[in-house]
Symmetry: C2
Subunit: 139 residues, 2 copies
DNA sequence: CTGAATCCCGAACGATACTG
DNA sequence: CAGTATCGTTCGGGATTCAG
């Protein structure tokens, strides 16, 4: 029992997002993308076609949407299915893994919508304070 | 009753992260930052000094950390306190508002640490598939 | 319709040096 | 210790064009 087959119950790897070399950093960096959150939440609602997504997410360019979808597919978070119609039809849908993440990022979007006013108020107060300091400095 | 004072019970503003012009986009964009998540979670653990944060978050440069902290302070998510010691001591701490967000982003970090292996497996499978397609194309 | 490829610019970042 | 300032560089991302 002391040596040999080390697989089975390997010690839980000490993944930490605070280690620069930790692969979890890659995941966080992936999520640190303007569009990933929006795409995941959209696809969590149901399958979408390319231009359907594009229209539903204002401001995203075709290039960036394409790139982002490809990365998400590579990460196993979404699935791409092409139908040999004319013209070709492509449908994106979320995977079970992606769905678990979508629920988390959805909370982020909800937080943003819920606390936006508090944030904007804080910004206004901060800017006013800075403005006061600036004029005091020039006086 | 038909016209006049429209204030009181204004219709709930239809904030949506999917509208390009919606201010919630700004918040999402702010969160879409490699370091914001890490900083917020760190400060949720307790107050930290500047270089303490810097050391605790591998890979962040002093410049970027400074910028990010300033933005977070402006958003009302963290508070900066300077003590007139020699040399000067600065302490950053999280606000109640920031704490509500920290709990959400903490879920993200936990997701990353929990599902990193599934993601890496998906990436490997995807890359193998692409490699197969590539060699098939050249054949 | 769904992308891939190209060009191009501004924002962001790292490194360094300097200040209080 | 806790930043700010400047510089040089990289890189993401928008607009456009081409292809299956």
């Amino acid at each position: 029992m002391s040596l040999g087959h080390p697989a089975e119950t390997a010690p839980p790897p000490p993944y930490s997002v605070y280690s620069e070399s930790c692969p979890t950093r890659l995941v966080l960096d992936r999520l640190a993308d303007k569009w990933v959150t929006l795409i995941l939440v959209r696809l969590a609602e149901g399958p979408r076609r390319f231009n359907e997504l594009r229209r539903g997410i204002e401001g995203v360019s075709q290039k960036v949407l394409s790139q982002t979808l490809k990365r998400l597919e590579r990460d196993g978070l979404i699935v791409r299915r092409a139908f040999p119609t004319v013209p070709v039809t492509v449908e994106y849908s979320i995977t079970p893994l992606g769905r678990t993440l979508a629920e988390t990022v959805q909370a982020l979007a909800r937080w943003a919508e819920a606390h936006i006013e508090a944030v904007m108020a804080a910004q206004a107060a901060y800017d006013a304070q800075i403005g006061a300091q600036a004029s005091r400095a020039t006086t």
